[in-house]
């Protein structure tokens, strides 16, 4: 019994520290403002429950010790879990007591997030003593759940997890789903409360049951079809399913913003702009394997170029003035120029640094992005770029009398360009060009030796990536109507990087999903918005360590291991090594012997 308890203590201490961190950084208080279910279950509460649960799961998870999988029995798992949960609760409770002793105001003078509201959340409004008890007991209960989780049957575990996930997601989508239901004239008061905006308990229960039942049915079916597919001569239905899914997604993308209202369209417009940036980065980093931190510079160039070419104005002390250089082109004509500028600048950026090693290339692109922002802000270029105030009166992009400054219409504009970019990315991935990039990413030197002109494909990658990001910039300038240097900081590059990494490097659907999660959700929930960058940073680290292939991996990067030949191969390798060793020992001798034999 010693080991489970030790594991529990270890995991619990880490869980406790994570919880203290979440509290002190202000996330728990902030997220408590968002009610998900009923009146009590807030996002803050969910966040509060995650560390003990996570610690318990971690404590009870099977580990590989010395090549053998070490699994805990049900009782041991439970012990480890309860210990972990209790310790997690204990740590945060202890912290609470210490803060209370020092005095909340004194702590708050340094740690600004430690507020009475936080204490209120942590103690559930029942005073310090009551809070400590609740935290420890609640932690233990969650720990018990986490510790016993793995002992449950898979067919039960998975549907429950999916059900809970769907309920939370529905809770978070509280600004979209009710509006859609209203629009469709569907009664929705049973599902969402008008007071708290969150799900009602009844609604949550129904959603849970439906989701879990669907998941259970689906898992069961999948297992059966997998068995059936193993039999030869059966038609594969996956192709049809995929087509149906694709059609459904396209239909949703077209209809959804109409139903969900202009706020959602506005957010999706931003998501779309980021999808363009991310697809651009995906070409360079996902396909070509070159880390590019300068995508924000192309975003900037695209926005400023299209603004200047379509006749935007400067803000000065004397009112609006035309910039030093400007033209009065139609937006779509300007867009062509912008694409060309983006491609040329991309190639120019890459040209001198072609031979640099990957990490240096990343820093050079970062430096380039910084230079772009500094120059755009500077007094020197103020007559062209407008300095810190930027440019105003960026033209609309009217088409057949439709204005695209309206968020609903803009969404369709951006959707159109995103579709083109998706199509291009997808076509390139499976072409001769894509193959060359792939080879270059896997082994640059060997690709070169096999006849791939790597310099050329690096330039090409940067040019295409730059052009896509520049289109994103041009659309962004139409969307906002103004261009200011603050919108194009390095953080944009890092955000885009996070989108691509989360989705999966080289994966086009991944890019879209990544942008929806990382920009869509914070856009919908102002509570998340404040901690957006913190979450991005954490996500980058966590993904790289835990799941480097991303949410929706690229096919090539996650090929199924063909166990059979792999094992055979391992044997072969050992065999080859042995033989090689023997051969090397005898090398000189045999050589001499055969030489003699020849004579």
């Amino acid at each position: 019994m010693g080991t489970p308890i030790r594991r529990g203590v270890e995991a619990g201490l880490i869980g406790g520290l994570v919880l203290v961190y979440l509290a002190m950084v202000g996330m728990i208080t902030k997220f408590d403002e968002l009610v998900l279910i009923g009146t009590q279950v807030t996002l803050g509460l969910v966040l509060l429950a995650l560390p003990p649960l996570g610690a318990a799961l971690a404590a009870a998870r099977p580990r590989v010790v010395g090549g053998r999988v070490d699994r805990l029995g049900p009782l041991e798992g439970l012990t480890a879990g309860v210990t972990a949960g209790a310790i997690t609760g204990g740590v945060i409770a202890a912290w609470l007591v210490v803060v209370d002793r020092i005095g909340i105001d004194r702590v708050r003078s340094v740690f600004i997030a430690v507020s009475p509201a936080l204490v209120d959340v942590l103690t559930f409004g029942r005073g310090i003593a009551g809070g400590v008890a609740i935290l420890i007991v609640g932690g233990s209960a969650l720990g018990a759940l986490g510790g016993a989780w793995r002992s449950l049957r898979f067919g039960l575990r998975r549907p429950v997890a999916i059900g809970v996930g769907v309920v939370l997601l529905m809770g978070m989508l509280q600004r979209i789903v009710p509006t859609i239901l209203d629009e469709l004239n569907i009664e929705r008061d049973w599902l969402y409360s008008k007071v708290t905006r969150g799900l009602t308990w009844m609604g949550a229960t129904i959603v849970f049951v439906v989701a879990a039942a669907t998941a259970a049915f689906w898992i069961d079916r999948r297992e059966r079809t997998a068995a059936a597919r193993a039999e030869p001569g059966r038609a594969d239905t996956r192709g049809i399913a995929r087509t149906v899914g694709l059609v459904a997604i396209v239909a949703a993308a077209i209809v959804l913003p109409h139903l969900a209202g202009s706020i959602v369209s506005e957010i999706l417009g931003t998501v779309g702009v980021y999808v363009l940036l991310a697809l651009g980065l995906n070409v360079v980093t996902g396909y070509g394997g070159m880390l590019h931190l300068g995508i924000s510079a192309f975003f900037l160039i695209g926005a400023y170029a299209s603004a200047l070419l379509t006749g935007a104005n400067l803000v000065t002390a004397f009112g609006l003035v035309a910039p030093r250089f400007s033209a009065n082109l139609n937006f779509y004509v300007a867009l062509v120029v912008v694409v060309i500028i983006g491609a040329i600048v991309g190639a120019l950026l890459a040209a001198p640094v072609l031979r640099l090693r990957g990490d240096y290339l990343a820093i050079v692109t970062l430096a380039f992005a910084s230079i772009a922002v500094i120059l755009a802000t500077s007094n020197w270029l103020q007559p062209i770029t407008g300095g810190p105030q930027g440019l105003r009166d960026v033209t609309d992009a009217p088409l057949f009398g439709i204005s695209f400054q309206d968020p609903q219409n803009f969404y369709y504009l951006v959707l159109f360009f995103c579709s083109i970019a998706v199509y291009i990315s997808w076509r390139l991935a499976w072409s001769r060009t894509g193959r060359a990039w792939n080879a270059m990413r896997e082994d640059e030197q060997v690709a070169d030796a096999m006849g791939v002109n790597t310099s050329r494909y690096k330039l090409l990658g940067f040019a295409i990536g730059g052009a896509m990001a520049a289109v994103g910039g041009a659309l962004f300038s139409v969307k906002v109507g103004t261009v200011q240097p603050g919108s194009f900081e390095i953080l944009v590059s890092i955000t885009v990087l996070a989108v691509v990494i989360l989705g999966g490097l080289g994966s086009v659907p991944g890019v879209v999903v990544g942008a929806l999660v990382l920009l869509g959700l914070p856009g919908l929930l102002s509570q998340l918005e404040e901690y957006r960058l913190l979450i991005y940073g954490g996500a980058l680290v966590a993904i790289m360590i835990l799941r480097p292939q991303g949410l929706i991996p690229n096919v090539r990067r996650s090929r199924e291991l063909q166990e059979e030949e792999r094992t055979q191969d391992a044997w072969q390798e050992i065999f080859a090594q042995k033989e090689q060793a023997a051969a090397e020992q005898a090398d000189a001798a045999t050589a001499a012997a055969t030489l003699e034999e020849g004579s």
Binding site: D359, S370, T377, G537
Partner: protein
């Protein structure tokens, strides 16, 4: 199969494909840069009386440059040491520096209010340095343990992406914990004003910065050259795998490296805050990149290279914009000081990726 090949093979390479395009681009680029530098400096130095900078202004630029260069050098050492052993750019090192400065702020603030700082300027600054060092070391070690160690041996770009993520995470952690406003960093009254050394009037803080930086660097050099741990570090920097076969605990060496890098960053944090007088959660970014540039300029992996690179960058940043841009009528040239830094970085990587003292390692594939 042979006939397919025979048909496609015939084309020989054209003359154009033999041209050393890269070399031509580089030569053109260097000519352009050189021309711009000469022209800009000439214009500035021949400005009519009244518009031109006085001799004392130039002297002040240089003194400021040396002082900030010393701070950059201390941060650059952190990059260089880690790079030497792990061959990775610790992108989050700027945040390690920020953490030290930020933590010491609360003590500085309290001591300023209680009067302790003005009564005991030297003692209080020494204590602030110790506090900053402790916090920076803590952050650096945590960073290594949580973010970098699990990725040891992964392809180069993966730890770099992690480091970028960690940098963003640390910045926003400090923002969440302590707020986003820029705060004034108090200075003991004893450190206001100037001293005249060798006929040059220097601000007392700048003198302090120089002295502390020199002491720290000498201590580091001695440590690396004379102690067993230092020898292990050098061995691991040569070849970590062989070093571990020779019985060196590479994990411990790496932690030691992060500890030392953190200590230097902590010192630099306090010195930077005293020099520029304010701090914010975002203060690590620009000095971080600048110091990285310094490390690359001096030759990444080399300790004296970091010192030389830091001083060079510091002086170029304070003198460069005024010298190159004033004469050609660029308004507010100091807005563009980071442009100078970044251009230097790009140029160094192009022409001498190994840096001034480096081995040309970057050119190896």
């Amino acid at each position: 199969m042979a006939e397919v090949g025979g048909a496609a093979r015939g084309r020989a390479l054209g003359r154009l494909e033999r041209l050393p395009i890269r070399r031509i681009v580089l030569i053109a680029l260097s000519a352009g840069v050189l021309g711009a530098v000469v022209y800009g400096s000439y214009k500035t130095l021949t400005l009519p009386e009244g518009q031109a900078y006085s001799a004392s202004a130039w002297r002040d630029f240089i003194v400021l440059g040396v002082a900030q260069g010393a701070v950059y050098a201390l941060i650059a050492l952190g990059y260089t040491l880690v790079y030497g052993i792990l061959r990775m750019i610790n992108f989050a090192h700027g945040e390690v520096f920020m953490a030290g400065a930020f933590a010491s702020f609360f003590f500085a603030d309290a001591w300023k209010q209680s009067g302790f700082m003005d009564d005991q300027p030297w003692l209080s600054v020494a204590l602030l340095v110790v506090i900053a060092m402790a916090v920076s070391v803590m952050v650096a070690v945590l960073l290594e343990r949580v973010a970098y160690r699990p990725l040891r041996g992964a392809p180069r770009l993966i730890p770099l992406i992690t480091a970028i993520g960690a940098s963003l995470f640390l910045q926003n952690t400090f923002r969440g914990l302590f707020g986003s406003q820029t705060r004034g960093y108090p200075k003991p009254t004893g450190l206001e004003g100037t001293w005249t050394i060798l006929g040059i009037p220097m601000q007392k803080v700048q003198v302090l910065v120089l002295v502390v930086a020199v002491v720290a660097m000498v201590a580091l050099t001695l440590f690396v050259a004379r102690t067993t741990t230092g020898r292990s570090m050098r061995a691991a920097a040569e070849d970590a795998e062989i070093a571990s076969l020779m019985g060196i605990n590479v994990d411990r060496v790496i932690v030691t490296t992060f500890v030392i890098g953190g200590m230097l960053a902590g010192v630099a944090g306090v010195l930077f805050a005293l020099t520029f007088g304010n701090i914010s959660y975002f203060m690590g970014f620009a000095p971080g990149i600048t110091a990285f540039t310094a490390a690359v300029l001096g030759g990444i992996g080399s300790i004296s290279g970091a010192a030389i690179g830091g001083l060079t960058i510091g002086i170029l940043q304070s003198v460069g914009p005024a010298l190159l841009l004033t004469g050609v009528d660029v308004p507010s040239p100091f807005q563009l000081k980071d442009v100078v830094t970044f251009l230097i970085l790009i140029l160094v990587l192009l022409f001498r990726p190994g840096g001034i003292l480096g081995t040309g390692e970057a050119e190896k594939v």
